[in-house]
């Protein structure tokens, strides 16, 4: 091989562009080793070690703010955009780990691999958020997905968990097939898999954007992403997987990996497929309405709270899609802000559910929380705050998040889309309020003696409440950060 080529290849390697995920992967491997040599059942030190790993990664990530690093021949770009989404993933993973330790002991699976897998998932999510080559995005997506398949099916003696893992696996692998076929077709037209390269090629050869292979490739790629963010009509896997998976993992899946999928989704749509803007917005307009409506209306009839929150997460993906339809700066900064807010409010709600579930979690139904408001007032108030935020009530963060997204839609002239979104939020009041009514206005049948606070879960609930209230009252600073994070 030519010495110059080797020289060039070495110069292209820039480890600071992947430093956060590198730190996380190393910690993940260390955790695997530690859990091999530690006594079975003693997982508390491992949980705290993984939490410390996430704190260190958070510091490394934040130190890269305003210092964009490109590396590996332009296939990774750690800019502010990626850093923002990386922080969302880190927060989601940290909250998951905090609520997991006691939960795993209660359900009888105190094993260390769980924490290592969460770290690997987060590392994959980071590659997705910072990837500027479809190859990097694909690899990140798969590292994330394969770890999540295992985590969803983690309770291997529970048929419900097995089933969730298998369903997630089949539909995830199926959607990967579509995504890859789309990448292959785009590559055939443009001769590159780099998303900026694709944009440059189309800008230089305007005939490419009407090439049937390019359009088919773009649509297949978007189908793959829509599967991952659980947009209708590709949402069928979500309720089953969210209900069957261990509760902290459900919380994690609905926040961190979804944010990373949106990061790659935004980058690919708004950079590589910019030439298809008119077609994409027309399709996404319909999909956003479908997703919001399907999620909210099916949630109305759910009795199981986890399943209800799964449908609610579908409708929230619909709100985020509205920001993508708007296709302007407020639109994607709105999505970034919303994903952060959603992480706090949704994970907070799940943290409370983790505490009030019994072993096996059959009591997590709307009737199962009857009278909890008087037996466990603190938990009930926390859950109420999170549900109010999910509804979009001021002064919680959910209101600010929805406000920015719908404002973006109005600014781009999609007034009806914003109206449908607001009407959908009104529909969602019913099923969130039903849980609160059951907590406060029904007589208690049980004493909830098992719902005892523990340090980890308490910290995660406090962080989530602080996030929901602070971002609701003072959304400005974080929104400014999101605006700085243009790509």
């Amino acid at each position: 091989m030519d010495a110059n080529l080797v020289q060039e290849a070495i110069q292209n390697v820039n480890f600071s562009a992947i430093m956060p995920s590198l730190v996380l992967s190393v910690f993940g491997m260390v955790l695997l080793l530690v859990s091999v040599f530690s006594q079975r059942g003693k997982t508390t030190p491992i949980a705290w070690l993984s939490f410390i790993a996430l704190v260190i990664t958070g510091i490394v990530t934040l130190s890269g703010w305003n210092n964009p690093q490109a590396g590996f021949a332009g296939s990774v770009l750690l800019d502010n955009f990626a850093t923002f989404f990386n922080m969302i993933c880190i927060i989601a993973a940290a909250l998951t780990i905090l609520m997991s330790d006691n939960y795993l002991k209660r359900e009888g699976y105190p094993v260390g691999e769980y924490y290592a897998l969460i770290l690997f998932t987060t590392a994959g999510a980071m590659w997705m958020a910072s990837g500027t080559d479809l190859m990097t995005i694909f690899l990140g997506l798969e590292v994330l997905s394969v770890s999540l398949y295992v985590l969803a099916g983690f309770f291997r003696d529970q048929t419900r968990s097995n089933e969730a893992g298998l369903k997630y696996f089949f539909l995830g692998a199926f959607s990967t097939g579509f995504l890859l076929y789309g990448v292959a077709l785009l590559y055939g037209v443009t001769g590159t898999t780099k998303i900026h390269g694709i944009a440059e090629y189309v800008a230089a050869n305007s005939a490419a954007s009407s090439n049937i292979m390019f359009i088919a490739g773009g649509m297949l790629l978007l189908t793959g992403f829509l599967f991952k963010v659980a947009a209708a009509p590709f949402h069928m896997w979500t309720p089953d997987v969210y209900q069957g998976a261990p509760t902290p993992i459900t919380a994690f899946m609905s926040a961190g990996p979804k944010a990373a999928a949106f990061a790659a989704f935004i980058r690919v749509t708004m950079v590589a497929l910019e030439s298809m803007q008119a077609d994409i917005t027309a399709v996404f307009w319909v999909l956003a309405v479908l997703t919001m409506t399907a999620g909210n209306f099916i949630a109305l009839s759910q009795k199981d709270i986890k399943r209800m929150l799964a449908y609610s997460s579908i409708s929230h993906a619909g709100y985020a899609l509205v920001g993508l339809v708007a296709w302007n700066e407020i639109g994607y900064t709105g999505i970034m802000f919303y994903m952060l807010v959603y992480t706090f409010m949704n994970m907070g709600a799940f943290a409370v559910l983790v505490l009030i579930g019994k072993k096996g979690e059959d009591n997590l139904t709307v009737d199962g929380v009857k009278g909890m408001g008087y037996k466990r007032p603190v938990l009930a108030i926390a859950l109420s705050i999170f549900l109010l935020s999910l509804m979009g009530m001021p002064p919680t963060a959910g209101f600010a998040g929805k406000f920015y997204i719908f404002a973006a839609a109005v600014k781009s002239g999609y007034i009806w889309l914003a109206v449908i979104g607001v009407l959908n939020s009104a529909v969602s009041l019913y099923y969130y309020l039903r849980v609160m009514v059951s907590m406060y206005f029904k007589d208690a049948e049980e004493d909830f003696s098992w719902a005892v606070m523990n340090t980890g879960t308490a910290i995660s609930i406090v962080i989530a409440i602080a996030g929901v209230l602070l971002l609701g009252v003072l959304p400005g600073p974080v929104m400014e950060m999101a605006k700085l994070a243009g790509f």
């Binding site: 190859m135 694909f138 690899l139 798969e142 394969v146 398949y149 295992v150 099916g153 291997r156 003696d157 529970q158 048929t159 419900r160 097995n162 089933e163 969730a164 893992g165 298998l166 369903k167 696996f169 089949f170 692998a173 199926f174 990967t176 097939g177 890859l180 076929y181 990448v183 292959a184 077709l185 590559y187 055939g188 001769g191 590159t192 898999t193 309720p239 089953d240 209900q243 069957g244 099916i298 009839s301 759910q302 399943r307």
Partner: protein
């Protein structure tokens, strides 16, 4: 003379067979095989197009797809074994615990 179009047509047919198989078959292992057919048709597309556009990116992509498919196979088969231990079946009709 076999041109790139023939390869693309073949891979499109294979991809469709895989997709149809996933949608119609009932046995989890057969569904998994159909997903593998889909992934391999993508590999064929990549290699044909790599030759066509004249750079190596597509062929490198194929190595990553194969690696990922292997990892997915390991995880997927493990999940199927766990399910089989509990239910003595891997028919998708028996995935019936979770529904509304």
């Amino acid at each position: 003379m076999i041109s790139v179009h023939h390869y693309l047509l073949l891979s499109a047919i294979l991809f469709s067979i895989g997709t149809l198989g996933v949608l119609t078959r009932k046995n989890a292992i057969v569904i998994f095989m159909c997903i593998e057919v889909m992934l391999n048709s993508v590999n064929l597309t990549f290699i044909a197009l790599s030759k066509h556009v004249g750079n190596m990116d597509g062929q490198i992509f194929v190595f990553f797809v194969m690696t990922v498919a292997a990892a997915e196979a390991a995880v997927g088969l493990a999940l199927m074994i766990a399910f089989f231990k509990n239910k003595e079946s891997i028919e998708v009709d028996d995935f019936n615990m979770l529904k509304w």
